[in-house]
Amino acid sequence: MVNKNLKLMQGNEACVEGALAAGMKFFAGYPITPSTEIAEISAQRLPRVGGKFIQMEDEIAGMAATIGGSLAGLKSMTATSGPGFSLKQENIGYAMLTEIPCVVVDVQRGGPSTGLPTAPSQSDVMQAKWGTHGDHPVIALSPSSIRETYDLTIQAFNLAEKYRTPVFLMLDEVIGHMREKIEIPDPSDIEIFNRITPDESEKSDYKAYDNSLEVPKMAAFGEGFKFHVTGLMHDEFGFPKNDPTVTEILMSRIMGKIENNLEDILLYDEYYTEDMDLLILSYGGTFRSVMSAVREAQRSGKKVGVFKAKTLWPFPEKRVKELSKKVDNIIVAEMNLGQYYYEVDRIARNNCEVSLLGKANGEPITPTEVLKKIKEVL
């Protein structure tokens, strides 16, 4: 191929470009480092494609407006970082129960509290999973390069629309602010999923929460369906019900629509896992240090495999379990003090030792640190 569309791009910029390629037409948010460029570039780009940007008064409002935008029919996104992600949780839970597709980008920074605004971390992995009250499934993706940020943002929109759910895109500051040359794919090569909408014939008895479907069809406000949406437990028409049976049916459908489609949702990459004595599991920016350390270790004859989770949640349980049977040790490398580690340990501990290479001082994990850890184990 000749006319390659090559661009030097920052991670946060690639996220916006990916979102636009996926059809984003609405962005509402509140600035916070290190996610701010996502808002700034969206503000610049959206009106040019007939979309809308609004800077709300806080993150709670940003999340609420994002949900509103989606309900009015536009593909919607918001972006934030740790403290803002905490504020958004109330309305994230709302979107989960009311099944409103949208993308929530979290460019993680050091925490807790306002913590380290400009330092990288992967400290919100568990917040993504358990940040809200109540049970609901979570889809969270995490890229480790600029091109992957572009691709996974598109994927985040596709999964949101397909499963009628908020989807998290978990960047870390390393990826958000790094620049890399990427090749922008031709729009005709990108697969786009748009929400399934009801047709005219369904107007008189439209069930916004039809339990006979795994993912109910979604109408937009203003199209003539006049439905009700509530954050209370609801029946198939969307009206409040506190009947245990109704709640059980709704909850099991919401959990099931993700759990029954793991094949479609789970994305991960493996390197050298065919023949290995040790496995390192990593994700996001940390993967880059892991990979360079592992290449180094391979050169000195050490057999180290790498598992890179691109889908953080749902957890790639089946595959991690299989891999844990092939080795004596798994190292989990992450920029926190052991969030994903506990999940890996829970799955793998019966088959092998699981240890943590964790760091939460605002500096990324270096290849040297990974090599040192490899030498400790092997």
């Binding site: 809308k52 709300m56 609420a64 407006a65 009015a72 006049k226 009700h228 509530t230």
Partner: protein, 275 residues
Amino acid sequence: MAVASKLLENNFRMNRLPHIWCPGCGHGIIMRGIAEAIENLGYDKQKVCIISGIGCSSRAPGYMDFNTLHTTHGRALAFATGVKLANPDLKVIVVSGDGDATAIGGNHLIHAARRNIDITTIVFNNNIYGMTGGQYSPTTPHNDLGTTAPYGNVDNVFDICRLAEGAGATYVARGTVYHAKQLEKNIESALENKGFSLVEGVSICPTYYGRKNRKGDAAEMMINLKETTLDKKVAAKLPAEKKEGKLIIGEFVNKAQPEFCEEYHKIVDKFTKGD
């Protein structure tokens, strides 16, 4: 004026009625006022969207046959801002309680007003948190009782209308459930204003506020509303001592100013309308 049954048929989800408000609650009167206003103005019902937060008042959208959204406590205006900006063809109405709108949702209220986004907000002000059982709200009068103000409320009150005006609302009015017809007219004017409009509907909660503060039953509370309010126009002609302690009702602001979605669309149009 539409007769009640037609009004019900045209605007309400008959299978969702009767409502769950307590006997004597004032909220139903304001809900009816909203329906009457929509009916009188002849809006396309497919294009009307009613959004609420959480509270007794916020239950209203569930009964009304439009695009309806029952959101999180205090956040209705933030959801509504997203809906309106995403689809400015929708007629967006927010229904909120005094606590919902001015305590937890106070920040969203002042900023929606500041933007002058075309949303009509109706605040059902019963001076108390009804749904959670009678705790004091930002509009509970100083020294009045609430379950969390057992020795009298120490807080001072918000004047919701002055708050909205100060923040930039381009239509502001206050009515009461006793003066139902006037309230309905205010809601109509608010809906017709292109910009952020707020109507404070002073309501009654005989169950909590009334009982706790010995205000009598619903009928007595209604009479009290009548006796303690003064129309703005009447008040203008009275000496100060005659206005003391009275609540002024009527239209306070009604002015034309650039509206947020229209202003934003000018930017969009610049890029998308080729000439």
